[in-house]
């Protein structure tokens, strides 16, 4: 397959892990597809050292300036400082802008309806402008995103990214307006979302990050903002290729049951399919730097006789071009093979098992917290107990630690837990926000 000649485009490798042997009559094939992007000039752990092409990237930072940011006043100060750190992390040549968000969006730098190009001078000017930021007004996140989209569209950049910081609920806009905005912006730029404090809505922010293929996290203590912003900006600077799609081709009679990203976080992509030619569909994956992600693909196949072999799906990473063609960056095959050998067909792929567990972990945490809020303590105990069990069995220590702040773990192996009587809001929100974080399968 062809490779882009540009040196900063990473190489994609696609590895498929599955048990392709199915018992007679079986009609479902599961596979974990590991996609790894390497090369592109980065140096592993140091994404800042001259990776990619800065001129190809544009970043808009959206800072919540609603009235609540003044309570306590450290919040606004920390947000200003964090944004300044993020601005310092901008590589020379990167296009950028800063938006102050309230019930309306206001471009505070460069404030000329477009993007500035990062240099020592523009970084300094941006930080000057940040000093004038003050809090006051409501929250209408959709307006911020629309402005970010408009600003990014003025510049000829291939990697378009947003960083959004908020401390409260999206109160001055109808939920459907936000949804419309997300629909309009999806695929036009990617966006990381951060919630500072504990007065924001987890579902709202996860929804934004999910729609815009970015990360979401909580920064319970405003003092932690600067480090987080720096990390986010470095991550954005490390991206080398945007708008990559996971393309799945299935033969006649087969169909995709679901497609989930399962590492680094769980993200169900099933509903985000766009048709790409006969029996093929594209699922968005956003932009890629030097990184590796895992996808769980489940295919419904027409059952075949023992001894038959079929292709269940062809998986490829593609870079769609404006003219409808697509550059294939890498591909793998999901196969189905019907056998009467029980030993072969009952073998469980360790990768599929692991990620099935990780997806369930995310789900039971969300259901458990939901039940806890609703006062259904039995159900909450059962769900969170199961979560503790799954987290412990799969070695997801970060999630296990977060769970331990919400429940008292009696026995992790059996999932026996007691709900804590008092749980800090920050702990509960952290668990909910990070519930989708997974660990990779142990080698």
């Amino acid at each position: 397959m062809a490779n882009l000649s540009k040196s900063n485009v990473p190489q994609f490798s696609v590895d498929v892990y599955q048990n392709e042997y199915l018992p007679e009559g079986a009609a479902e094939v599961n596979a974990i597809v590991t996609v790894t992007a390497t090369g592109g000039g980065t140096t592993g752990g140091q994404p800042l050292s001259g990776a990619g092409n800065p001129a190809a990237a544009g970043v808009v930072i959206m800072v919540d300036c609603s009235g609540s940011m003044e309570y306590p006043p450290t919040k606004m100060r920390n947000a200003r400082d964090a944004t300044a750190v993020a601005v310092d992390a901008l590589r020379d040549g990167t296009s950028f802008a800063i938006v102050a968000g309230t019930h309306v969006a206001r471009e505070i730098y460069p404030a000329d309806g477009g993007l500035a190009v990062a240099s020592a001078a523009t970084r300094h000017q941006a930080k000057q402008a940040l000093r004038k930021l003050s809090a006051g007004g409501g929250t209408a996140i959709g307006t911020w995103l629309r402005l970010a989209d408009k600003l990014l569209a003025t510049s000829d950049v291939t990697i378009r990214h947003g960083i959004l910081l908020t401390d409260g609920r999206n109160e001055h806009e109808k939920p459907e307006d936000l949804r419309d905005t997300l629909d309009a912006c999806a695929g036009r730029f990617t966006c990381d979302a951060r919630g500072v404090g504990t007065d924001w809505e987890v579902k709202e922010l996860t929804g934004i990050a999910s729609a815009l293929l970015g990360s979401v996290d909580i920064v319970a203590d405003p003092a932690g903002l600067a480090a987080d912003f720096q990390a986010m900006m470095e991550n954005a600077m490390g991206k080398e290729i945007a708008d990559v799609a996971l393309r799945l081709w299935t033969p006649q009679g087969s169909e995709i049951a679901f497609v989930k990203q399962v590492a680094p976080t769980v993200e169900d992509l099933t509903a985000r399919r766009t048709e790409a030619g006969p029996r093929a569909g594209d699922y968005p994956t956003g932009s890629w730097g030097d990184e590796s992600r895992d996808y769980h693909i489940s295919v419904r196949v027409p059952p075949a006789e023992v001894g038959q072999e079929r292709l269940a799906a062809r998986v490829s990473l593609v870079l769609p071009a404006a003219d409808g063609t697509a550059e294939t960056l890498g591909q793998g095959l999901v196969r189905a093979l019907w056998t009467d050998d029980m030993a072969a067909s009952t073998r469980i792929s360790p990768q599929v098992a692991h990620y099935t567990g990780q997806a369930e972990l995310a789900q039971v945490i969300q259901q458990g917290l939901e039940a806890r809020k609703a006062g259904d303590l039995d159900s909450a105990t059962a769900k969170l107990g199961r979560a503790v069990q799954l987290a412990s069995a799969s070695g997801n220590e970060d999630t296990a630690k977060l769970l331990a702040k919400v429940v008292d773990v009696v026995d992790a192996a059996s999932g026996t837990v007691r709900l804590k009587a008092k749980v800090a809001d920050a702990d509960e929100m952290t668990l909910e926000t990070r519930s989708t974080k997974t660990v990779r399968v142990k080698k």
Binding site: P251, Q252, V306, Q308, D340
Partner: protein, 430 residues
Amino acid sequence: MAAQSDPTASTAPPAARPAPPLLCPDCGEPLEQTDRYCGGCGLNLAAPRTPEPRPAPAPAAGSMAPPATATATGPTAPDGPSPDETGSFVLAPPQGTQGDSDTLALGLVARLSDPREEESPAPAAGQAVCVACGVGGVDDDGYCEHCGHAQPRQRDHQEQELEGVAAVSDRGLRHHRNEDAFVVATASLPDGTPAVAAVVCDGVSTAHRPDDASAAASVAGGESLLAALERGTGAEEAMRGALLAAFDAVTALADEDDPAARPHHNAPACTCVSAVVTGPVFTVGWIGDSRAYWIPDDRSRPPARLTEDDSWAARMVAAGLMTEAEAYADARAHAITGWLGADAVEVDPHVAAFRPEGPGVIVVCTDGLWNYAESAAEMAEVVLPDARSRPLASARALLGVALDGGGHDNVTVAVLPFPATVSRAGIPSA
């Protein structure tokens, strides 16, 4: 002439082709607009239409008929040098599937193509068409671009015939790949006597890479056997050496494996049986449960099974713990107790030499065949009477027996005529 024929051609269609009311051009059965095949005679309606059906001009212009048809084909189908005879030949499509010689060169495509083989593939100009659905092309990975069906591979069905020996190997009906392998070869002893050999190996499917194991064993075994015979080594010793050479070849495969993955699977393994005819005797050697049978031409003489399985059932019977019927009814019957491979408990090559009284054939086969003709008498029944003069046909017929029986395993069978039917000694061949 051409101008003359035009009016006849234009008048002929309404009479000859009652296409608007949609009748089958062959049998007159009424058709639906969407039909791809005639419901009456099964004619492929999608196939390129015959220019003008033969009967058409007959009533229209009696004496003009012969030239009319000849010229009518000219202008209406300028690219059709093929006479209408071939146009009505529904057998054309299979040629399309045979065109891709890299998948399968032999005539068994139809059987492998399973249920809908009747639906002849749509003509895809010059390129491989899926054997299963007949609609899609074949991608670089060997799968159909339409239905995803895996296409037959080289090893799915193999045949080879040399002077004096023939063998057939087939995937069978229930396994997804062929893990059997064979080698047939001839050589000449130092004194000019021809030696004809067949080596048949059956990969152990619970082991890793069984197909590679059987291929490696058969090649190494065959080479070692003939090389030793050419050097003048005695047949029995050469046979023993060949089994050990095959053993080493399979053992070596285990070293190629990723050590990290090793605990998760058994080392590559296979069985091996071979027979070599040298002058008035033939020698059989084996490890595992692949077998050799002696079937005399004179069926009034008793046929014989020449090998003793290294299997659980055989051991039970040999130890007197069970009757043959009981032992073979047990689920463990086919568990083998001897094999070639890195994790074999012991290497115990069995070798036996025979000096038959009359002519006959040696049938060397895997359990994919003998499961359907276990005893020597049963085997003798299914071997063609003229097997000695037609070894390949006989091997194919035996494959047919296994497939008719259900084809639950890979089937490999070699037929060796005795005495060797090599026409002239001293002509070594491949």
